[in-house]
């Protein structure tokens, strides 16, 4: 295939919108695809096929089927995109087991309806939710000893610049932090150990990249002065979820990666130009992968070398290239990477970061030990940290690893995944033209974005399964109207050749995901009653408690009854219902729905939740169990009597 096909620069009219641009790029990509197809046709005559079609390979790969009664061997944590949630999948079956509501309200569990969830999500002064929309992209788990410890996972919200943490023992979101001074919060990655204190070999920070540069401070001034537009790189404390510090940088942040030794974090930058229209963002032949020296940044913060902006108290250190010219004191290092890179990923042996070129058909391998050398002043030029820059195919985006020295990179425009060998790529780049670094290619359907392999982003990458999130499904599923699902495809990567084994439609639109060995995740079976300060631990505590027009109703549930079985309030009261599910039996969840009052939420065994609302309609209103619980589920009700 030809590298010429990738560059839309020459024929890009200024006012094309994004969709049209993609069409153009796709047309350009067709040539490459055709070439591939032609090549395949030749192969087929000899009786071998490298197509990734499900039918062709169903017998070849490991079985993704999980028989009734058997369990999946991996958990998958999938972002839900602008659904604002995180989904929990079982792999290799691909079955969706759970959705964790995070940023957006969820009518099933009552997320955004209960007081507890509202407190986490953030409210206006009148108690209404501050935000109703979000866009989750990247899910990452907490680390210990270079691998997942199953404690937390984090996910970003690109729309409202929030980061949320989920407790993996209960699979609930427990904290949400809004990051100041930024827009377009995109990349996110937890650190794997402390850069200084070697005893802290687990996650204590989460790094966040802001993709869109914006006026700083964004207070209505300087909106037309693009030089005042800035992007910042943010560090959030993993435990408190407070924002620790930010770094003011040139260009923007896209994805984020962290090193296994804790010393470096990096973000790829596609808009070093600082453009505001896409054409302005594609001028430079080289963009960058920006490395952050965490220890130096934190020392600078400690030393008071920071500013704050606007109302934010978060210390912001200066990471602009102009201020960091001396490697020995620099907080950041900017490694030039070809043309609008998308994705930076840390290889599991801990040595390299891989940047994919997107508009350049190349993958760039950056040697972390050389970056550290540069910071020590031992490298003449930061360019020397690049140990390979090899051609992979059209539109390379994200890279995953099998733990055996191979990388898998999605080729968006080629609708392919390419498997390539890192050491061979390095040899090839050094001049050994016999080094064959591309091991295999497989067609995916269609236009893949993120991909990830089982345990890929840990030192325990096991090279069993590769999931590919295809952004377009087109003809792959029964048509269900103009909106198409995404197509999540699963590839067996245990052999030399990749084998496509299954595909699933998913509701739009997941972006990124991680695949975690099942024994790492240790979910609780029921909640702990004592974790809820407002728990009604004994039915004897139930009752209606009035303070002026504020009324608290304490209710317990135990199949098949609510207690109180009825309660009286007055029109105009501000009613708070606290419901504790005293059932201890695993899976015995109850719902609490109030007719005509627009309220529904569930309480899992030993869980407590509360809602507050205005009793504005007189009359009798049934409160019923909306979550099937018991043979007498339909009989499980209580009456709310609103006195006029």
């Amino acid at each position: 295939m030809s590298a010429d096909n990738n560059n839309p620069k020459n024929d890009s009219p200024l006012d094309l919108d994004r969709r049209k641009f993609l069409n153009t790029a796709a047309v350009a990509g067709v040539a490459g695809t055709l070439l591939t197809v032609g090549g395949l046709a030749g192969c087929k005559k000899e009786g071998t096929s490298t197509t990734g079609g499900v039918a062709a390979s169903a017998t070849a790969g490991s079985s993704h089927e999980v028989a009734p009664g058997e369990l999946d061997s991996y958990y998958g944590f999938w972002s839900g995109g602008h659904m604002g949630d995180v989904r929990v999948l079982g792999l290799p079956s691909g079955r969706e087991i759970h959705r964790i509501p995070v940023f957006n309200p969820d009518a099933l569990v009552g997320w955004g309806i209960t007081n507890e969830s509202k407190a986490i999500m953030g409210t206006n002064s009148d108690g209404s939710l501050k935000y109703h929309v979000a866009d989750t992209h990247h899910v990452h788990g907490s680390y210990k000893d270079g691998t997942y410890d199953g404690k937390y996972a984090w996910v970003n919200d690109k729309i409202n610049c929030r980061i949320a943490r989920m407790r993996l023992d209960v699979m609930d979101c427990d904290k949400i932090t809004e990051i100041p001074n930024i827009q377009g919060f995109h990349g996110i990655f937890p650190d794997k150990r402390d850069p200084v204190d070697q005893a802290i070999n687990y996650t204590t920070r989460v790094f966040c990249g802001s993709e869109f540069h914006a006026p700083l401070p964004n207070d209505g001034h300087d909106m037309d002065d693009l030089t005042k537009y800035r992007a910042l790189f943010t560090c959030v404390d993993a435990e408190t979820m407070d924002v620790r510090w930010q770094v003011l940088i040139d260009g923007n942040c896209d994805l984020v990666a962290t090193s296994y030794d804790g010393k470096l974090a990096a973000t790829n930058q596609y808009n070093t130009e600082g453009g505001v229209k896409y054409v302005d963002m594609m001028n430079a032949e080289k963009d960058a992968c920006l490395f952050f020296n965490i220890a130096r940044i934190e020392q600078a913060v400690k030393d008071g070398k920071f500013k704050t902006y606007g109302k934010s108290k978060v210390p912001v250190v200066d990471g602009t290239l102009e201020s960091n010219k001396d490697p020995k004191t620099a907080l950041v290092a900017s490694v030039p990477v070809p043309k609008n890179p998308h994705g930076v990923n840390a290889s599991p042996e801990g040595k390299y970061f891989i940047c994919a070129g997107k508009l350049s058909p190349t993958g760039t391998i950056i040697d972390l030990s050389l970056v550290l050398k540069w910071f020590d002043g031992e490298l003449k030029s930061i360019d020397e940290a690049i140990v390979a820059e090899v051609e992979l195919g059209l539109g390379p985006l994200h890279t995953a690893f099998d733990g055996r020295g191979n990388a898998f990179t999605t080729l968006f425009l080629d609708s392919q995944v390419v498997k390539w060998n890192l050491e061979n790529a390095i040899k090839f780049y050094k001049g050994d033209k016999n080094a064959k670094y591309v091991v295999d290619r497989i067609d995916v359907q269609y236009q893949p974005g993120h991909l990830n392999a089982s345990m890929s982003e840990t030192k325990d990458a096991d090279g069993k399964w590769l999931a590919v999130g295809c952004k377009f499904s087109k003809d792959r599923f029964l048509p269900a109207g103009p909106l198409h699902p995404e197509n999540e495809q699963l590839i067996d990567i245990s052999g030399e050749k990749m084998v496509m084994v299954s595909e699933h439609p998913v509701r739009p639109e997941p972006h990124d995901f991680i695949i975690v060995k099942r024994d790492i995740i240790k979910p609780r079976q029921v909640y702990n009653l004592d974790e809820f300060p407002n728990a009604v631990k004994d039915p004897a505590e139930c009752g209606v408690f009035r303070q002026g027009n504020k009324v608290t109703v304490k209710i317990t549930s135990m199949a098949p009854a609510f207690y109180l079985s009825d309660f009286k309030v007055k029109v105009g009261d501000e009613v708070t219902i606290i419901l504790t599910n005293l059932d201890k039996v695993e899976d015995l969840t109850h719902g609490f729905a109030i007719e005509k009052y627009n309220i529904n939420f569930i309480v899992n065994p030993q869980e407590t939740k509360s809602v507050t609302f205005k009793a504005d309609k007189p009359g009798m209103y049934w409160c019923y169990c909306s979550h099937f619980c018991h043979a007498l589920h339909l009989e499980m009700r209580s009456r709310m009597l609103v006195e006029a």
């Binding site: 009664g69 369990l71 061997s73 099942r518 024994d519 240790k522 079976q525 029921v526 039915p539 317990t556 135990m558 199949a559 098949p560 009854a561 609510f562 207690y563 079985s565 005293l582 201890k584 039996v585 695993e586 899976d587 015995l588 018991h630 043979a631 007498l632």
Partner: protein, 735 residues
């Protein structure tokens, strides 16, 4: 109401009483049995709950509240019913009622359980007990069923946590003694176990009895990493195999359930089974006094998890037991077992890690994995509760200092043997004496003459008197055909050595009988030691002595030889009947007068039985052993193997023509050809006395006379019953 009527019918006669199939499965136990009869004051009952199951008994606080139906279909709430309790506030819990067969599977004498309904108050005091069904033959006619009712009544008012045993405690023994049912020791010993185990299990479950605290194990960490085969060999993992036929299903060659299980906290074992990281991760999840075990199913289609835990949160098929403590598992005690690390582990299709959360459990001591199942009766389709278990005990190497010494409580049978030690010694001495006497019969009979048989009769009369007085009346060790029939059934249903050991005299007697029958024939037992036989013949002798000799007679031989087959017919008849109805066979076995004579007492029975015994004993005065000769099925049963005895009685060639001893044979066992029918012979040794009596035995007498006439010396009589020739060869020639 019908059910209650049925229940009262049960009370009237619980022998093999038909019980409704739903009794062992229906949640509403008290709809089928009179729960109120075993706990006074209760007017409503919960559904079955817990594992093993019981029902709660309530009394309404207000007067005429009537029966409250507590139909929670979710029979699970551990908290004791509906906590919201709108309707329960007006009644109070006064105790518990449980069905023995829900809890234990202890067979009684018949090899089948005595189905008992037991009531207990909230302090663990037994409030009542009722036998719903039993299959005990001995309780059928010989001993009135009321005896069992009386026996069970003794438990009322006793605390289930106390040590209760059968018999009076001796000095230094701390238990509450209960009066046994005379002649039904086996039944009451089994029933005592049933009562106590059921009571303790339920009392533990509802919290009346505190669990035993056992010292915790200290583990030895071994460097090795055992393979699956190593684990199997050294006992680190154990197998629990349930065959389809064990639960009443057709055998298909595949098991009903084939489980492997083991203890996981032990680091060497845990790492070998789970792998290092999973083991450590599991241990971080456990608090002190929590123990993890694993179970995998390698064969069989039945699930050991079942589905009960989905509704009620409790796994109702699997338990762990350590002595009297039972550990059940809730859904929250379950963890996924993702795989077995040990090399060579078998493939499995169901698996679990269960957590035992109790100070009571200790891996230093043996414990059992128990699988609770229903057994189906093929003929009726009824299901009854049954359980299967396999023991596990960490091997020495895994425990610091090895396995602790476990004092196994003395089994009941052993205690009985100790209690009756002197009686057993005396009885054994009696048996050995009679055996020795008979072994030395040649020496004895030579010292006797037809007129003077004291050397033999002295021992024999001693044996008779001892067996009538000591064996029969005192020890009540009269063997019976019912035992033979019971063995057939025990072999078919549930053979337990322990049960037979609980009656030491019968146990010893039967070994003696079996051995001597094959050596000398049944006559030694029948003629010398059978209490009733002895009584019968002693009466005959006494009749003679008191001058009734002229009225004494023997049946004409023709009639005798026809009538003697009657007892065989009776035996085979009983055996045949027993295959269709043990109960009927046991009733028909009343043809034996033994129970009336020895076990119950002649005057303690209904007049037909007394009359029957009176006729038999009355006849015995005038004719020798009429019952033994013509009716005794036990004699017939023993006569059959007697065909294969090793040593018979002696005969000489002249016996074929001389029928002198046949005339004196009270058993009519010598035919005109002089052959002795060992099946009929009582080994009285009269003919053997004659054999050596040179004045009474016609051939020997003739020889004596010839010798006297010829002036030949009278040499001693040889083993062949002839004078020993002095000069064999010439003498031979002369003759």
């Amino acid at each position: 109401m019908l059910m209650l009527m049925f229940a009262s019918a049960v009370y009237a006669n619980s022998y093999e009483a038909p019980l409704p199939a739903e009794l062992s499965t229906d949640p509403d136990l008290c709809a089928y049995v009179p729960c109120g009869d075993v706990i006074a004051g209760a007017d409503s009952f919960s559904e079955r709950k817990g594992k093993p199951t019981y029902v709660e008994a309530y009394r309404s606080k207000k007067g005429d509240h009537g029966k409250i139906d507590d139909h929670e279909s979710n029979g699970d709430s551990q908290e004791g019913g509906n906590h919201h309790g709108d309707k329960n506030d007006d009644r109070e819990l006064i105790g518990y009622v449980f069905l023995s067969t829900d809890i234990v599977d202890i067979p009684a004498y018949s090899g089948k359980p005595v189905v008992t309904l037991i009531g207990m108050d909230t302090k663990g005091i037994i409030t009542g007990a009722k036998v719903l069904r039993h299959s005990e033959p001995i309780l059928l006619l010989g001993i009135p069923e009321g005896e069992l009712t009386k026996f069970i009544k003794q438990y009322v008012g006793k605390f289930v946590g106390d040590k209760i045993e059968i018999g009076k405690p001796r000095e230094g023994q701390s238990y509450i003694g209960l009066d046994a049912i005379t002649g039904a020791t086996v039944t009451v010993v089994a029933q005592n176990q049933v009562m106590m185990r059921c009571g303790v299990q339920i009392a533990r479950q509802v919290g009346i009895l505190k669990p035993t605290i056992r010292p915790q194990a200290k583990f030895t960490e071994l460097a090795k990493s055992p393979t699956w085969d190593d684990l199997v060999t050294e006992g680190g993992v154990q197998r629990l195999l349930v065959k389809r036929e064990d639960v009443g299903l057709e055998a298909t060659g595949t098991p009903y359930l084939d489980l492997w299980f083991g203890y996981l906290n032990q680091p060497t074992l845990g790492r070998a089974i789970l792998g290092k990281s999973n083991y450590e991760s599991l241990m971080t999840r456990l608090k002190p006094d929590e123990h993890a075990i694993f179970i995998i199913r390698t064969g069989g289609g039945e699930s050991f998890k079942g589905s009960g835990f989905v509704r009620g949160g409790i796994y109702d098929r699997i338990q762990v037991a350590q002595e009297m403590d039972t550990f059940t598992f809730r859904d929250l005690d379950y963890l996924n077992l993702y795989g077995i690390e040990a090399a060579g582990a078998p493939a499995f299709n169901e698996s679990a890690i269960f957590i035992i959360r109790s100070k009571s459990f200790s891996a230093a001591y043996p414990w059992k994995l128990v699988f609770l199942a229903n057994k189906m009766d093929k003929s009726t389709g009824h299901r009854t509760f049954t359980s299967f278990d396999a023991e596990s005990w960490l091997p020495d190497a895994y425990l610091q200092g090895g396995r602790p010494v476990v004092i196994v409580p003395e089994p009941t049978w052993l205690r009985i043997w100790k209690d009756k030690a002197w009686g057993i010694v005396a009885f054994t001495a009696l048996l050995l004496l009679i055996g020795t006497v008979y072994a030395k019969r040649d020496w004895l009979v030579r010292r006797c003459t037809r007129k003077n048989k004291y050397w033999v009769d002295g021992f024999k009369y001693f044996g008779w008197i001892a067996s009538i007085g000591f064996v029969g009346f005192a020890m009540m060790a009269q063997p019976s055909i019912t035992q033979v029939l019971t063995w057939f059934h025990a072999l078919l249903f549930h053979w337990e050595w322990e049960l037979f050991l609980t009656d030491p005299f019968i146990f010893i007697f039967w070994w003696f009988i079996i051995i001597t029958v094959f050596i000398w024939g049944r006559g030694l037992f029948c003629g010398w030691l059978c209490p009733f036989g002895s009584l019968s013949e002693l009466l005959y002798k006494m009749g003679g002595w008191v001058g009734l000799k002229r009225f004494q007679f023997l049946l004409p031989e023709r009639i005798h030889h026809q009538l003697k087959w009657l007892k065989y017919a009776i035996f085979y008849g009983l055996l045949a009947v027993s295959f269709f109805s043990m109960g009927l066979a046991e009733k028909l076995a009343e043809v034996e007068p033994f129970k009336t004579t020895f076990l119950v007492g002649i005057f303690n029975r209904a007049w037909p039985y007394t009359l029957f015994v009176a006729i038999l004993l009355g006849l015995s005065i005038f004719t020798e052993r009429p019952f033994c000769k013509y009716l005794c099925p036990l004699g017939a049963a023993l006569a059959i193997p007697t065909t294969f005895r090793w040593f018979g009685l002696k005969r000489k060639p002249a016996c074929t023509t001389c029928s002198a001893c046949a005339k004196g044979c009270g058993s009519l066992a010598i035919n005109p050809k002089g052959e002795i029918d060992q099946r009929e012979c009582m080994l009285c040794l009269d003919c053997m006395v004659m054999y050596y009596d040179e004045h009474a035995c016609p051939p020997l007498s003739q020889e004596r006379k010839r010798r006297e006439r010829a002036g030949l010396p009278l040499t001693p009589v040889g083993a062949d019953g002839h004078y020993i020739p002095i000069m064999p060869l010439p003498a031979e020639e002369k003759r």
